[in-house]
Amino acid sequence: MVSVEAIPIFPGSAQGPSLVLDQPLSWWGGIDPRDGTIIDAHHPQHGQSTAGRVLILPGGRGSSGGSAVLAESVRLMTAPAALVLEEVDPILVVGVIVAAELYPDRSCPLVVAREGYDLLVSGRATRIRTDGRIEQS
């Protein structure tokens, strides 16, 4: 089992199968909030679904509209189970904060794994603990 200590930026517990993105992603223009599919035609994982996954990505990019689209994904329950970032992205952070303000019964925990990020892989059952610890079986 791999265990990585991450910083719980927006704490919470979550679990789901992991998906590691090879490049940063802009939520606006990059994700269809209706089903969580990656629609950025220039992204190497175009067409894959992020819904319910523990989504592991280097960071954000692109549009500042990402906060609102991420909040909409949370509302529609198509968001990832949790976000694991290598680098803090203010746009994604604000998206999960506001989603929790508007829809308190839904949430998308967000942690930052500066160290140990490279140990995390796709396709594993992954658990996020409230203290930020990430466990992959």
Partner: protein
């Protein structure tokens, strides 16, 4: 660690002002903790990106803030919405979406923001200057404010920009701080032939490459001898599309980069040399098809300036647009008003002006459209995902010639 809060900040957080101030301050506190900000600072203006209707969450937020007594505390401009209020018939979406978008626009006006509805607030008469600390959303506007105006704003997202506008405060993080404004990567284009380096399309394509190379770092671009504001606009828009770039230095041109050393703070950056091949490859990669059948041409992402509209008139030289092609120019209502005479002549030739919104973010292009052409790298990058269309990217001149001929025409590029 929590940031230092003044008595006034703490009162807002406790809800002593209004519900909206408390919500705004909670968002800013979350942002401050995430970014390690040590204190809150005053801002002198805001530009709100949350004006595009992106589903109910975006409307729920605006309504929550307005109904909680939210009022902007600083001069606040608004980004593009989903509707063109001056040409309402252009919107082809369904009525519930139209109603929701209108309701959201009204909520922002109710809170005292100005109905500018443009993604290029730096083209308005009042714009921030060197050293002014503002809270701006809209990725291309953020780059322009930091890089070209020398104003200071981190990359604010939707919601956070409005939280800053209602409280008049922002966590001091990112590009507010000198140390985060220094270039860590140098992108050198001096190896590219001068005739290629001076064209508008070079700047658009270079932007996409800069964003990819810089990621979230501040780049310093060397080897550019001259650039207009419009060229810097498309350069920054491209960089903020493919990367998380919030600021760029163009050495010898932008105000905080008279020299490479001043841009980097004296620390040697890693260097990436962009050659002719890289530009040629990135230029081709912005087109998703080689098809020739053309239905629509889209100019003005970010919103066209008065100068670009005048140039369009020169390129069109009195010729009409082909009857099978719709040529849209996206611009701000302020620019439209200031260019009224030219706009009237261009409309006679068949040009359609779109204000308050943009053709790649809302339902304006006719259904069933398969091929669109644009002179904007940003439009070309996002449209396949947003609209499901194939795109041909070309120079403004290519776009005009194609719109007149009714088929895709692309000149050989100088690279």
């Amino acid at each position: 660690m929590d940031p230092f809060l003044t008595d006034e900040d703490q009162a807002m957080l406790r809800g002593e002002g209004s519900e909206a101030l408390a919500l705004g301050m909670r968002i800013l506190m979350g942002l401050a903790r995430a970014t390690g900000a040590r204190r809150m600072i005053d801002i002198s203006g805001a530009h709100i990106d949350g004006t595009l209707y992106l589903g109910r969450a975006s409307l729920d937020f605006a309504a929550r803030l307005r109904d909680g007594g939210g009022r902007v505390a600083v001069p606040t401009t608004l980004n593009v919405s989903s509707l063109d209020l001056l040409h309402p018939d252009l919107f082809l979406g369904d009525d519930p979406t139209r109603e929701a978008a209108l309701t959201m626009m009204r909520a922002y006006l109710d809170m005292g923001a100005s109905p500018t509805w443009t993604c290029a607030p730096y083209q308005l008469a009042a714009r921030p200057g060197l050293g002014d600390r503002v809270a701006w959303g809209e990725s291309n506007a953020i780059v322009f404010a930091n890089s070209v105006l020398g104003a200071r704003t981190p990359r604010f997202g939707d919601f956070a920009d409005m939280a800053a506008a209602v409280t008049g405060r922002a966590p001091e993080f990112g590009l507010y701080l000198d140390r985060h404004r220094r270039a860590r990567v140098r992108i050198d284009v001096s190896g590219i032939a001068e005739e290629a380096r001076l064209t508008d399309e070079f700047f658009a394509v270079l932007g996409i490459l800069v964003g990819r190379e810089a990621g979230s770092e501040v780049p310093a671009i060397t080897g550019v001898e001259a650039a207009t504001e419009d060229q810097l606009k498309v350069l920054g828009a491209g960089a903020a599309t493919s990367g998380a770039v919030g600021m760029m230095h163009v050495v010898g041109i932008t105000p905080e980069a008279p020299t490479l050393a001043s841009a980097t703070g004296g620390v040697a950056p890693r260097t990436v040399r962009v050659d002719t091949d890289a530009i040629a490859h990135a230029y081709e990669a912005l087109s998703s098809t080689g098809a020739e059948k053309l239905r629509t041409v889209n100019l003005g992402t970010p919103h066209y300036s008065a100068h670009q509209i005048a140039r369009l008139q020169d390129l069109l030289a009195g010729r009409p647009i082909h009857p099978d092609v719709s040529l849209y120019v996206n611009t701000g209502r302020d620019v439209l008003a200031s260019s009224a005479e030219i706009v009237a002549r261009l409309e006679e030739a068949g040009v359609m002006f779109v204000v308050d919104t943009c053709t790649y973010v809302t339902s304006i292009l006719p259904a069933g459209l398969d091929l669109a052409m644009t002179d904007s790298a940003k439009w070309a990058y996002y449209a396949p995902g947003n609209l499901g269309v194939d795109v041909v990217f070309g120079s403004t001149s290519d776009c005009v010639e194609s719109a007149v001929a009714g088929r895709v025409i692309r000149e050989r590029r100088p690279w």
